[in-house]
Amino acid sequence: MSQPYRLPRGGRIDRGAPLQFTFDGRTIHGYQGDTLASALLANGAALIGRSFKYHRPRGIVAAGAEDPNAFVQLGRGARAAPNRLATVTPAAHGMQVRSVNAWPSLDYDVMSLLGLAAPFIPAGFYYKTLMWPRRLWPLYERVLRRAAGLGRAPSGPDPDRYDYVHARCDVLVVGAGPAGLAAARAAARRGARVILADEQPQPGGSLLASAERVDGVPGHAWAAAAAADLAASPRVTVLPDTTVFGLYQSNLALMVERRREQPGDAAGTERGARTWRVTPRRIVLASGAHERPLLCANNDLPGVMLASATAAYLHRYAAAPGSRAVFFTTNDTAYRAALDLAEAGVPVAAIADVRADPDGRLPAEARARGIQVLAAAAVRRVLGRRRVAAVELCSLDGSPRGVVECDLLGLAGGFAPALHLHAQAGGRTDWDPALAAFVPRRSNGVHPAGGAAGALGTAAALRQGAQAGASAAAAAGFTADAAPAPPGGGPELPSAQDAPDLGFQPYWVPPNALGRVKPQFVDLHEDVTLDDLRLTLREGFEAVEHVKRYTTLGMGPDQGKLANPLATGVLAELQGLHPAAVGAPRYRPAYTPVALGALAGRSVGALSDPLRATPMQAWHQAAGARFESVGQWRRPLAYPQRGETVHDAAARECLAVRRRVGLLDSSTLGKIEVNGPDAGEFLERVYVNTWKRLPPGRCRYGLMLGEDGMILDDGVTARLDERRYLTFTSTSGAAEVLAWLERWLQTEWPELRVYLTSVSEHWACLALAGPRSRETLAAAGTDIALDRQAFPHMTFRAGRVAGVRARVFRISFSGELSYEINVPADQALHVWETLLECGRPFGIAPYGTEAMHVLRAEKGYVIVGQETDGSVTPLDVGLRRMLSRRKDFLGKRSLSRPALLRADRKQLVGLRSDDPAQVVPEGAPLVDAPSRRRPLPMRGHVTSSYHSPALGRAIALALVSGGRASLGERLYAAAPDDRWIPVRSCLPIFYDPTGARLHV
């Protein structure tokens, strides 16, 4: 047993469950119930890290989430957990814990030499230097970056899963200290649904860290019983280990529940976490208060601790934080801690009290116990190398009061309510002069209570808690008389000893009489000193937010929980301002850091984003298709066969369509039924072309513009009957187009009697294309007459295909004879397989989007999003003749704006490379003549470019400034490898310009 600082009795630890872990390789012994910090203290390890900037030795300061120093690295490899706080991390057997920011070792850290240079590295140092010579900045930066940072990121993907839960309640209680427990009980007794969350593994808050009694039993026992009673009620959810890290809009509370290892895990494994997303009606903020440190020189040495933390280690963990203590205080609370330490056998050498006449009950008790109490006194300086060795005391007038040897200095600078969540949510605060701290104002559905409301003392916390719980419940609609069976026993307001008047006296900046001893740290994590603040003010950075940004005060992983309340007072005093005029830097989520994985929740891996599937998806997969992402879909790009590349396969598929027959799964197209007496009128308004006179049974290609005149989407619309049209949209435009149409209908033209219904998912779409598609369709079995007169181009028929009822559209995106066969999705696979089977004698091949792209490019058909980019009009792509002159339509007026009529606009043309084998890279810019000059004016760019298997040459489409007027001109495309590719522009149609193949 090597726990020299472990007390023989007491503590909320399980002495029957010893454990050990390593810290920088050294074995540390502890018990179940210890935190890393308490075990380290019990083992006498005071030095646990190096500071962020100067690499000064640092130890444990607090016993909770507010500690600015105790950041360690846990675990290794993919399970590594950087920057975990030792004061809140439960110790577990077999853990590997390492210090951060020290090299080669914690004791002998090379970078600590920086401390010597500290006088030359004040706040704002970097802005004033490292500018010369400019070339060297990258080098300087590399050095800076290496020195900065804290822990190391994991080395592999996170093996853990994170859970995510939505919850609702009437009252959310933050904190399960006396105030929170009383609040939860009061609210639950009124019938409210309550969630009680506390970041600690056990309920009780400050009760765990004191010897106080509640209702005649030890505080911790009362808390445990009260929490158990609450948990037994079906209306109450008690969540230990759960931090409320953010309060967002509409008081949405985000909480994260830590999950520890599971059976069979390596010890201390963090098993992800569960995020709770709670929508409460009311919130009771019972998050307690944080003690403020005090300034003196070397106040950062290991062994300097908050007075309340010394008591916490003593009572909760039975770990003596030192062997001989001195306290430095502004109020009576330190006396309680000092008495408790002395009681536990840790001698208290002295209490330096800044008050002239500390005469309360507790000081009297201390004196009676023989503790030396120095009034109107302060700690001037802490002495020691890697931990406290002594403190130098003096009177406030500067006269020395001796050097006292000790290894523990307890600081008691008063308490600041933990109002972070309240302030995050925009809640107001008031300056409480008695407390010298900001206290929350009840607002926005947040009811503060206990320490969080500025109350000191358990009795007050219980009282306020019960009141807040009752008023929160009432505000949520629950009153005392409506109460169903109350959870648990015990009185609503348990009894406890009222705290004595603490007699607080502010002490911010040590009086000048004490001399300018340094360094005095205001923010331990960020190594911000009192002198830094002075300098910062001198340089004119006076607003508290400026001070923060210039010095990085409060910007560390602790977010200045200790530093900020201290800094407000210090800055006020240095500037002669009221603290309320100084204010505090803005509070933001997260209260304590939260893993990105926890926020992602279940939305990771296969569940990160829905992958949508067509009815033929499994077939494509089995057929060895290569896929491409199109929005949330994965569409077959091509179906390579043995030894084929995607490119080879697409070429083969193209030829199959041009010469024989191919089958494409185009189920992803959007399909909207436009239904009602005014359907035609509606289409007239949203499309550039006309619809009312389209006869039932016929199809027409349509173009839709934004009000700015730019092409929004295109596609074929068929008239199903007098009052019904079916509109096809592009795959990526499906949702957007429906939303766009619905919006106009509802907000602008409610008088139109039209209903829009998306039928995209109901109808699968199989595009059968190629000269032998008619024979294939016939072979598959259909009752539709297929001959040219009976079923001409741009018409549709209803009937059966392969035994399934179908809508068949004779429309074509390939330029070949083509049937787009729509069948109910649940029978589509059957039809797909039948067509392939029956098409085999005709040489059918399934084809993918790559072949589809090539085929349409050969015909010069544009793809919205490829030829267009939100800045392209129908005029630009040569579709002027589609625009109706007889009617208005969305976007029409925009087309006559001067910039849209300019002759030098980019217009769609075809390109042929001089070398027919040379496929011009897509996206390549086009210029008039090669040149090394930069900038070199650009004429346009290549929008689509392929090798055309049908033509045996490269073809491309491009947008070229003034292109339509100068067809045949020579241009040069710049390849990414800086070669120039000579091309000539042409009409954007390469194959079957007369469209003869469509009308067969």
């Binding site: 399970r79 802005y127 230097t129 804290l150 400026h546 989520p589 893993a595 990105l596 730019m710 704006r897």
Partner: protein
Amino acid sequence: MQRYSLPHLIRRGLRGQRGWTRAWRKAAPKPSYDVVIVGGGGHGLATAYYLAKLHGVRNVAVLERGWLGGGNVGRNTAIVRSNYLWDASAHIYEFSLQLWEGLSRELNYNVMFSQRGVLNLGHSAHDMHGLARRVGANKLNGIDAELLSTEQIARLVPILDTSAAARYPILGGTLQRRGGVARHDAVAWGYARAADALGVDIVEGCEVTGIRAAAGRVAALETTRGEIRAGKVGLVVAGNASVLAAMAGLRLPIQSHPLQALVTEPLKPVLDPVVMSSAVHVYVSQTDRGELVLGAGIDAPTSYDLRGSFRVIEHTLAATVELFPIFSRVRMLRQWAGTVDVCPDASPIIGPTPMEGLFVNCGWGTGGFKATPGSGWVFAHTLAHGQPHPLNAPFGLDRFAAGALIDEHGAAAVAH
């Protein structure tokens, strides 16, 4: 102005850092100025600096309603690049990038401009198409741009999930090596200090509440610190552009949206270049202090609220963890928002308004930090001459009536 230099620093260090003086004077407003700049953000301060430095206009005030630099300049993810698609944008952002390259020297203030490269990822054929187009255009405009393969990206940023099975497979990307990040606050402070040294009055805690015109010409500003007469007025108030314009009876084509960002705890270096994926709304870099800085997409509703909706953050983080699986255990430290001024074409407005003497510089939206030096430079020119410089001539308010939009988001380019 105290010039910062090594000997100077050592002297101050030896004297216990006593001799420092204010970085800029705490100016009280005078009754009248030749030019008043409204807005003490990066752009406003840069404008004032170049007015004084290059155009000899020194009777200038910058009015800031809060503390200087508390707007978007102090809350942005600090990405600097110039690889924009359209010529007009490319020219102004590249000009700005060149100013960045000499900025620390120019201001005698280290703005820590760190050219560690900006990598844009492509996850689909459509993305790759857009990226290739942009690289081609950038090269002709003299902007450094490289198209990278998946393998090259895996070497450059090994912690990215470059496997083919990833939810957002990385098919390739573009790299602008001269891009990078800068220390955002320092930019505001550096310009303020340098402008102050040239005589510019920087007035903090002075909110403009009204704009008075006389005979169709701007005459004076009503402020919380009294009325201030002005020969010319430049509104450079980012997310508040519409509010100020309304004081002059104008409407702008601007919508103000919250844009959120967050930092993680500091880590030892794991990420060198800036990585951006516009398809999934993620951009991330690691600062010199070691935190990861991540940005999200804008919140859809217009708002002046500095918080934003949590679901936007959740979405961004889910995508971030997909791209960088090792970041899952890294923890979010702090999260915030700014109010960005978004134009329909995602390009800024820099030029005159229908009210004579009143000029605007706004609409930089989610990506104006990188433009700070260039924007200030051209706006100073515009104010001094009453005419836009050729670099900002395409960015006038008149482009909306003419239809000459410079559509940077439509054109597969990305913001930030």
